[in-house]
Amino acid sequence: MMLTGGQIVCESLIKEGVDVIFGIPGGAILPLYQDLPDYPQLHHILMRHEQGAAHAADGYARATGKVGVAFATSGPGATNLITGIATAHMDSVPTVFITGQVARAAIGKDAFQETDVTGITLPITKHNYLVMNASEIAETIKEAFYLASTGRPGPVLVDIPKDVFVEKAEFEYPETVNLPNYDMPQEADPEQVQEAVQLIKEAQKPLILAGHGVIISRAYDELMELAEKAQIPVITTLLGISSFPETHPLSVGMPGMHGMAYASLAINEADLLLGLGMRFDDRITGKLSAFAPNAKVIHVEVDPSEVHKNVRATVPLIGDLKKVLQQLVPAVEPKSHEEWVQRIEELRVEHPPMRPKVTGELRPQYVIQALSQATNGNAVIVTGVGQHQMWAAQHYTFTKQNSWITSGGLGAMGFEVPAALGAQVGRPDAVVWSVAGDGGFQMTMSELATMVENNIPVKFAIFNNRYLGMVRQWQDIFYEKSYVATHYTGNPDFVKLADAFGIFGTRVTKEEEALPAIKAAMEYPGPALIDFVVAQEENVYPMIPAGGTIDQLMEEPIEGHA
């Protein structure tokens, strides 16, 4: 069948099971857009900014496990995607970006809206392509989806010159990819599995560090079995949140810079760490030489380059986490670690999770707890980056698998709005709450229009502290309260803004108003926004300074707390 390049793109996307595309058209990609009406299976959502398109594809992918897809035109369209691509890259999110490029003859001539997009995105994609012939589109898209979704997932970009979209070629979708040396993750080396079993057997104070990999490989059940069978307490990293129910007796919560003090202290005392699909990020380890000084390390990872990168593994297990756990669980002997579990409980009592002072102000931690209560832990929580993100991680009780979506590795403010949009599109029946900073929200709030247009009923909790709060906190602690360029003195009236966009909006200034407002927002059959005017200068505790050690742990003094 002879088709145009644009038609081949559409046919290929349908073959890959794509049903939604986030994007914005422009000259170079227009021929592809003009083919879209012939493919009603491909639902296109017109975003307001390409960063929004990229984060939406990311949020969709994280919420569904499917590949998220975004379109953008050449030049500024493509460069606007960059933050979103980098976010997906840092957090291993399966995404495919299709960008228009100037016509082949114009490439390299500094043509209007020409940018070297494959060059720019080289270090922030798993792989990328410039497709110079329509006859290569099908196999390229096949490869792109394969690479994006297998192994350690990530973003793949396909750049297609304008005239390639109109060139005709024979369309036949390949059954297989020709990537002879691309390793699909397998089971781990059986000998190393035995070594790991032995280490688990010998350990008195083992801890699991469950990362994003548990969610990506859907190894929830295997994680649960391992934890219960060998009675190993489970710490979840920032991106591992919602891989293990926080109501489970073995759940210890999040470690690291703003993690629970008892989780970080437990790591310090542990004699064995099982890192499952995580990469010992500096926000977890702090100063590497002082991290987990007494622990041997079993590191289960799909990406060999993560092993020994930051923390030296005693036993590395390279493979697909789910498969490796399926090898490990039957081989591990049932055990109990009553003393150790008891010790962690002691740490928890000595270093309780933050109990915010009652000051009469609206405490952001309280708002998160109210949200947790009102949604019964059943919502999908999408956050921005900053204090509100950490409070959400700390104070929401996550019990549902894959119910937490956050920009971890890149820490991209502005993620909260479009990623929530994408998550809601992917999970139309879920209650999706965007826990937003007043700063981050203002970076991408134009996507409210996209939500209205497409009736995407995300609920927003704006943590309006009139500050770039997390930066202000650093200025408070490390720069003698010199609040340079962090104070917002002209925030918009978010309720009026909601009104302008045509969505539900209300303001909360007192704690007793929080629950009713949250319920009202959820009852409203469309996008809704709550402006939580929270205490301005609240800090996130506990805190271990960047590159610090557990000895530098800062906790809120307990006196005076409710």
């Binding site: 494959t118 060059g119 080289l122 270090p123 798993k126 792989h127 410039l130 690479l147 990537l179 002879p180 040396n181 691309y182 390793d183 990406d303 060999p304 380059s305 092993v307 020994h308 990168k309 593994a313 590395p316 390279i318």
Partner: protein
């Protein structure tokens, strides 16, 4: 943490931009390339590259793993000193005149190098060998005045008997 030079040979798909992907990765990860040589391999559509990198063992381990992650890179094999045959080629333009040309020619012969171009006031010397040999000839010729030099960087292979073990290079993934 002692840094040392290690030789790594990679088979890569012969595609536009592949060199850029590799050099971009080295730059982005702050790896230190001493030399890089690339050319056709025995397999159609595949190039073979030889890298010399400077770093401690952990860095070299990362270089190898990060190279393997690149989709266009097929195989990556570290080559140990003991099993390695390595060569480098250099062209050296050296000042020469009637009075010292004979002396230069003699040195070139001792090194089994060749004079590949003669001009009234200069010679071009071609030398092939391991880096030590190239380096020492260069040092000797520099007394006459080297006006131009180009070196290919190290190319390397594993000696016959050692080849099988290191060819696919997966053994060190721990």
């Amino acid at each position: 943490m002692a840094g040392h030079e290690s030789t790594i040979v990679a088979m890569v798909r012969d595609r536009p931009g592949v060199l850029n992907r590799i050099s971009s990765m080295f730059r982005r990860r702050n790896f230190n390339i001493v030399s890089l040589a690339v050319g056709q391999s025995e397999q159609p559509g595949m190039s073979r590259m030889a890298f010399v990198v400077n770093g401690d063992d952990a860095t070299v381990d990362q270089v190898i793993k990060q190279l393997r992650k690149l989709i266009d890179v097929a195989t990556v094999s570290p080559i140990s000193e003991e099993t390695m045959i390595s060569r480098e080629l250099a062209l050296i333009r050296v000042n020469a005149n009637a009075s010292n040309r004979a002396e230069i020619t003699q040195i070139v012969e001792i090194y089994r190098a060749h004079i590949v171009d003669v001009a009234p006031d200069s010679l071009i010397v071609e030398v092939t060998g391991d880096e030590d040999k190239v380096q020492s000839l260069k040092n000797l010729l520099s007394t006459f005045g080297i006006t131009e030099m180009i070196r290919t960087g190290r190319v390397a292979m594993v000696r016959g008997m050692a080849q099988v073990a290191s060819q696919n290079g997966r053994t060190d993934i721990t």
